[in-house]
Symmetry: C2
């Protein structure tokens, strides 16, 4: 793509690490409260290992873009909480009644490892703990942070997106239906991550609006790129079997638009994400770099 790349020296890995430097240590510290049954605590730990930590990094980079710090406790709690929500969603999505997946990040999925009842309960535990951890943030923004995350994760956000993705509700035809689904299924949680970073940093309304607009475009671009990679990538690049969505008869941006137009759409959405950052000036550099790296990714 032709857009100017604002932070050419940083790789995607650099940016993710810079945005969420504490996430693993904080998960160790905050994931499990006292008096949790040992087997449940073990399950919660198992299901939060690994992954790219994109959502925590979005929290931290959005906070920095709004003159906050990734070291501040509200930012750190929000980073951990959004990752716990992401983890719970994978555990429930993998269940036999849902996508019925046996492997996740190269390891047995929760229900394969711990049984189906325990997997349901691990998911419930991660979800409840995530929102409780945020609500107990020692800052006046506690309630607002938890409310942002619940909106992104809940029935009008991620859960609603999963309902749409599993054909459990009526959808508009074509690209509009895809947008309905992905705005909720992937987009809503990325949006909440960015907004929580801004809220934790006590951002101005203008800064909050800028990162919100950015995240909404990134969320859709992310999904379009996923669909393109699913159609063009190799198993080795993706770490999973390509073409699975199409084989399962799912509508994707590639089946709806064709591969070229889908690629152009992801470029356009990425440019719109960068445009949304303009009010932040140079503070938006790393968020812009993240958008470019996500658009260029091959897995």
């Amino acid at each position: 793509m032709t857009m100017t790349d604002p932070a050419q020296q940083e790789t995607l890995g650099d940016l993710l690490a810079a945005g969420a430097p504490h996430v693993n240590a904080d998960l160790d510290r905050w994931l499990v409260e006292p008096r949790v049954p040992q087997t449940l605590a073990d399950g919660m730990r198992y299901c939060t290992r690994g992954g790219k930590r994109l959502r925590p990094a979005m929290v931290g980079l959005a906070a920095e873009a709004c003159e906050g710090s990734v070291d501040a406790e509200p930012v750190r709690r929000a980073a951990v909480a959004v990752e716990m929500i992401h983890a719970y969603s994978l555990v429930h999505d993998d269940l036999p009644a849902m996508d019925d997946d046996a492997l996740r990040r190269g390891q047995p999925t929760a229900h394969v490892k711990f049984g189906e009842a325990m997997a349901i309960l691990i998911g419930d535990a991660l979800l409840t703990r995530a929102l409780g951890l945020l609500a107990a943030t020692p800052a006046p923004t506690a309630g607002r942070l938890a409310a942002e995350l619940a909106t992104g994760a809940g029935p009008a956000g991620m859960v609603g997106g999963q309902v749409a993705d599993m054909d459990l509700c009526d959808l508009p035809p074509g690209r509009e239906g895809l947008q309905y689904t992905h705005r909720r299924k992937t987009g809503a949680l990325l949006r909440a991550a960015a907004r929580m970073g801004a809220v934790a940093a006590e951002a101005s309304q203008a800064d909050l609006a800028a990162v919100t607009g950015y995240a909404e475009h990134i969320g859709l671009a992310f999904q379009v790129i996923d669909d393109v990679l699913d159609a063009t990538g190799t198993a080795k690049q993706l770490g999973k079997t390509p073409g699975k969505d199409v084989e399962a008869g799912k509508r994707t941006y590639v089946t709806e638009l064709g591969q070229n137009a889908a690629g152009e759409l992801s470029d356009r959405l990425t440019r719109e994400a960068l445009d949304a950052l303009q009010p932040l000036g140079s503070r938006g550099t790393r968020l812009a770099a993240l958008a470019c790296r996500l658009c260029q990714r091959t897995h």
Copy 2:
């Protein structure tokens, strides 16, 4: 039982109605946000119909005992939220991988009515919405309320109790193991309900401690009485098949202690609940009456 009954004129039904007069109207208003897929909204409504509304009433009566009002918005949000949590727990507990129940309150359970995937998602939606609704309370107590509910509902509370109840973790033998389970499975949410009422009423530390102690004893008494009724009640009285727990090989207070000692235990726990209310003086009258009515119930 021989204890003095402090509010002889009010039945259990009167007390429940007095504690949560707005719960049905507030559920209509707050259960479903804009932009929730229609089928998911319908499922959420289906799963929150009916029931005794004991937990919302506990919120309201605790608030009143702490000089709050059942009409205040934080109290009303807490009442609705705790009922949504209760509803979600029933939906997930009824799933085939859990208790595999086909009927609930005389109606088909969620997975029978909507399918298993949708039932999982309805539960996730109710849980997330409950905590989000509280976190968005327009009052400085918003974060604290959501944190109380998450603690009661989460891995150290209700979810942990369900893990214990399903034999998915090690437990101490005998009565201690039963207490470990029920303190979490039933007790933790009743405790959270009472504490939320106190917190929403901006109670003093002493008043908060009084309603907390009360609710902890009530929570255990409630379960002991359930076990006694399960052993002695008729299907008509209970509205469900008696003896199901014992048939399933579950330990109950009756199998552990015998029927007489279990009855004595529930009386003792109820008296201890009343004792805990003493610091509240006459403000504790209705909570005391609720304890007595719950102890006398036949279903």
